[in-house]
């Protein structure tokens, strides 16, 4: 796709601007994330008071993890939603037929748009709670430049993996017309298996093994562990490789599903 780069940047920029319109909503969101951050911090402080080495974290790791989770919640659109909600709505109304005409790939278009959204949420809903965590709970910052940079890369990959899953969820509207049921199910898995509810390092035995292998681990657990400096050297490369692997597999799945669905739209007559 020659010239596609500029187009996608333009799409991303506009998505960024679109989300930045809702200032009161953003402030309310930062407030709410921070309240939950405070609640979970005290819960984890109590947990690590009772067991100071649970999951290989110390108390500061655990509290840092809480605030990172709150900061990532909207950036990775953990509950679902984001720009893929527009896609689901266009499928339901049939407007998708027009989109499929366009000489731009649908996946790339929505991915660019979602990255723009994520950038906005990172700067507001991500940065806000993180600052409060730093000031009130003295959370840890990345200890090396490498860890900081790797975290940034990991964050982008987290958004891409999350986008691909949300795109697949939205695509179910081709068959079900309404994505909301699948979206809630998917959100439930995301909350649990991303480590948002409880760090995956606490998951015992086979449950831990399974959870760490599923794509949702890319959402919170992997970026957080990189931030905390739990991955270094080849281990760090492997962690990022894990995210890349899921990003590639899931984006390919998006293309595949879209091809299947397109055939269906044609059969349906639009």
């Amino acid at each position: 796709m020659r010239g596609g780069g500029m187009l996608h940047v333009a799409v991303a920029t506009r998505a960024f601007r679109r989300y930045s319109t809702y200032r009161a909503a953003t402030l309310a969101g930062i407030f709410t994330n921070s309240v939950f951050g405070i609640i979970y911090s005290y819960a984890y402080i109590a947990l690590w008071d009772a067991n100071p080495t649970a999951g290989g974290y110390d108390q500061q790791d655990a509290v840092t993890y809480v605030w990172l989770g709150q900061a990532l919640l909207m950036t990775i659109a953990l509950w679902g939603g984001g720009t893929t909600d527009d896609l689901a709505e266009r499928i339901r109304t049939g407007d998708i037929a027009i989109d499929l005409y366009r000489p731009v790939g649908l996946v790339g278009w929505y991915l660019a748009s979602d990255l723009g959204r994520a950038a906005y949420h990172l700067l507001t809903r991500g940065l806000g709670p993180t600052l409060i965590g730093v000031v009130v709970f003295d959370i840890a910052l990345p200890s090396t430049v490498v860890a900081g940079l790797a975290f940034a890369v990991s964050l982008v990959l987290a958004v891409v993996v999350s986008f691909a899953i949300r795109f697949l969820v939205a695509s179910t509207a081709f068959w079900l017309l309404d994505q909301s049921g699948v979206k809630v199910m998917s959100g439930a898995f995301a909350i649990f298996f991303s480590g948002m509810m409880l760090p995956l390092v606490l998951f015992p035995g086979w449950l831990g093994t399974v959870a760490n292998a599923l794509p949702w681990a890319s959402y919170v657990q992997v970026p957080a562990d990189i931030w905390l400096g739990k991955h270094t050297g080849t281990d760090l490369v492997a962690a990022l490789g894990f995210q890349v692997m899921w990003a590639v597999v899931l984006l390919a799945a998006c293309q595949g599903v879209l091809r299947l669905a397109t055939r269906k739209v044609v059969v349906q007559g639009g």
Partner: protein, 270 residues
């Protein structure tokens, strides 16, 4: 003479709710997935708590059974309130789209219409899960007639407190229409706080949860009585029986705020 109005409002509420159930059933797959998904979210939520206890003997002195009692009762109270009147959260959308103006022209109290609007049974999932956890935890309680009474009044009062929080904080949207999430800090935040023994929080937070946002009365104080415990913070024993008072006061305050909000409301002007 007592007017027959409340009964009639309830009937109108039921009629509107039934309408929405039938509408939702038009997408049966989504309907089922929504209910299952919501059950799953709350179910996994409890699994999270259970995993926490794999690393602990007790959380701030409370065993898994005791925490399950706290968790189940708070979740049940929230589920009842959320199912009945959770739609009030969307009042900002009604204002923005002008639907609130339409509702005002109808011969049914505004609050009844707003609460019944888009009534959804998907919260049955949470209701079921909360009932199971609460029922399980109840088998570990040494029941006396007084404790049964306290338990029943706890569930009713807890739902009333959440009713008050939902309605009261949703009213913020009369002044700023897109700050929906602000209320979540108090409603869902309140529900999250009450999943834990409240002595994990500092004393100042406890005071706030008792006198400002009285969620401590949803389950903490009455559960102390059910479990035959004294408050680690040494509050008077009378608090353990004061939940109904907290419920009535919260609800009254919320209705007052609602009335002020409706009076303040001047439509979007378009």
């Amino acid at each position: 003479m007592a007017s027959p109005e409340p009964a009639q409002h309830l009937r109108t509420y039921a009629q509107i709710a039934w309408l929405w159930i039938r509408a939702a059933w038009q997408y049966p797959t989504s309907f089922v997935l929504l209910a299952v998904g919501n059950g799953l979210i709350t179910g996994l939520d409890f699994v999270g708590l259970w995993i926490m206890f794999a690393h602990l003997d007790d959380l701030a002195g409370f065993t898994l059974h005791e925490v399950a009692l706290l968790y189940g009762s708070a979740s049940l109270a929230l589920a009842v309130a959320d199912t009945a009147i959770g739609s009030v959260e969307r009042i900002g959308t009604y204002i923005r789209t002008g639907r609130l103006d339409q509702m005002m022209t109808k011969p049914v109290p505004l609050l009844v219409q707003v609460c019944a609007d888009q009534f959804t049974l998907r919260r049955l999932g949470r209701l079921t899960q909360a009932t199971v956890v609460f029922g399980w935890a109840c088998t570990y309680v040494d029941w006396t007639p007084l404790r049964v009474l306290v338990a029943v009044s706890m569930l009713v009062s807890g739902a009333m407190v959440f009713f008050g929080l939902f309605v009261g904080f949703s009213c913020v949207q009369f002044w700023t229409t897109d700050a929906t999430e602000f209320a979540n800090a108090f409603t869902y935040g309140g529900a999250t706080v009450t999943q834990y023994p409240l002595n994990i929080f500092p004393r100042e937070v406890m005071v706030g949860l008792t006198f400002v946002i009285p969620v401590a009365f949803v389950n903490w104080y009455p559960c102390l009585h059910l479990l035959g415990r004294t408050d680690p913070y040494g509050t008077p024993e009378a608090f353990q029986f004061a939940s109904p008072l907290a419920g009535v006061l919260t609800m009254a305050a919320a209705l007052l705020v609602w009335r002020t909000g409706v009076r303040h409301y001047t439509s979007t002007g378009s």
